[in-house]
Symmetry: C2
Subunit: 335 residues, 2 copies
Amino acid sequence: MKEFKRVTLQDVAKEAKVSYASVSAVLNGKDGKSIRVAQKTKELILECAARLGYVPNMAARKLKNGTNSLIAVFTYEQIFPVESENEYYRFFVGIQETAEKLGYDILILNNRPTEENSSRIVLADGAVMMGVNRDDKGIERLVKANYPLVFVGRREVSDVSTHWVTFDYQKVIAQMVDHLNDLCSARTLVYVESQEQEREPRKDKRRFLLEAAQSLGLEVLIVQADERNMLSLEAFGLIEQCKVVVFDRLFLLEPFERLLERKGLKLGSDIWGAVLEDDWMGSHEHWTRWSNQRLELGSLAVEYLSHLLQKETLEQLETLTPLYLVISESSAFPK
Amino acid sequence: MKEFKRVTLQDVAKEAKVSYASVSAVLNGKDGKSIRVAQKTKELILECAARLGYVPNMAARKLKNGTNSLIAVFTYEQIFPVESENEYYRFFVGIQETAEKLGYDILILNNRPTEENSSRIVLADGAVMMGVNRDDKGIERLVKANYPLVFVGRREVSDVSTHWVTFDYQKVIAQMVDHLNDLCSARTLVYVESQEQEREPRKDKRRFLLEAAQSLGLEVLIVQADERNMLSLEAFGLIEQCKVVVFDRLFLLEPFERLLERKGLKLGSDIWGAVLEDDWMGSHEHWTRWSNQRLELGSLAVEYLSHLLQKETLEQLETLTPLYLVISESSAFPK
DNA sequence: CTGAAAGCGCTTACAG
DNA sequence: CTGAAAGCGCTTACAG
């Protein structure tokens, strides 16, 4: 078997009998700056490069330049999920489209959780990270070293400031609470939370909900679903009394609807409800929620990263993607 | 905004007040070979590296070593398809599992068709390519330069030998034809082909079918579906006469079944049929086909690549993944 | 046991 | 207009 012998600039230079500086200049279209090459030499060089099958060595280029127009997309979730609607799909589409538009290629590092991961990420000029990170020392180290890393969704790393873009939860949650308040005269609403690990987005959503309710003089009762995402009888009793319920996660809805059915209650007339997510699973259209802007957020993440990479000022860069309230049967106005 | 200042070996060496050769040795566990470092120095170095947040520069390492234990997975298809069952999913799982087992990380290059792509691939030590390649000059160049590239599915590149793994179509097709022959007394079968571009796997399947039929003294009539994957009336008439039909692609089956229904014919009793694919879409269980061994083939591709990379002999390496005939209603024996 | 030095392939400021 | 040279960060054979 023949070896993979890389054709280098040197080889091309020898073949064309010129210095390799000229070859580099021609092949990178840098002709005209500090280096100038005669038209004939140029053609000769291009011909030789093609004939020998020259493939530039990205590793060397990256080492010398510090950049390679590659951005890493990183997630700790499974990348190729079997589920029809991958939670990250729309983010990724936005990332991909925008990266292409801005002239970046994309490098997807498939998760193999190791300390080494960080050095792999660093092959790229910067990275976009989707999903909930485990408490990873490698990532933390990168952030602390000021590696250009943009999180999709707000993330904190102790002691250092992080770069992130996220949804404008505050505004849409205020609208949602307004709407629920208009809908019925109850002075109390029940907020049902899942048992998921406490992360920044979840904290944010709860805070915004409480603030919005307070500004309208509404009381909020917070209850937790159990590990099977079910409500206790007491919790359900509260909801029956208050008539208005807000869930933090989509997957809490189905168990709740089963419960409603068993009690003979009807969503949207006996009980009003909403959920603090978009309908990314495509199967909760009858719930009041917000619009799916995941593509837009992915896109924004890349724009933000691009600013970082070009050392442009971030002052006037927006970091929030607006969300739109989608009012549906679960909290529709009575006809 | 602070710059991303990379912490280098030099920085660590300065901090620990040792030469950077020692740092390199310690950090790579190479202590003991041509370089030996005292236990105390070792601990000091590790402590300094951790404190400064040293992240090895993969680009430099790759440039020096020529390897970085990264393999690229490359495909021209959309990588994050919305469809529930991605055609490449099972291949990818096999690739991923085996790469992990053999100590490789995986780098997914998202397709942006450019000449530059080839230099991006070459960041990795080798590559596995899934799916039908367009006639890409970059890929051709890599193959000609002996870059370690394994195709999933047989692929030819003019003038040079390629590395590929594929399914053992020959054996399973022979079994399938045997089965169809046992099933009914017809001496002729109809082979329906799609209008897809002619590629190696398709040529192979056709050839194996013809050979298998010939060895049993069966005649094969080849017909083409139209651009909407429909059969002409004449073609359908032939099938009605011969009673046995084989399709090359899954997507031809639904239009055919609609036609059958319209004619009041029943698959598996009036007409027998089979398809030269596995049921990767999960919705053709009632068709005689072969088993889905995509995971196994992805796995094999990585094993093959690993042999290439370690310059082991390829002599005794199997390149075929066996397929198993799955007999189903479309050609079941009458009860 | 430790350090100085060469070299991987490239880019670019600089000298001729 | 063209070439020689330094240097990006790393590894490793070799000298001390």
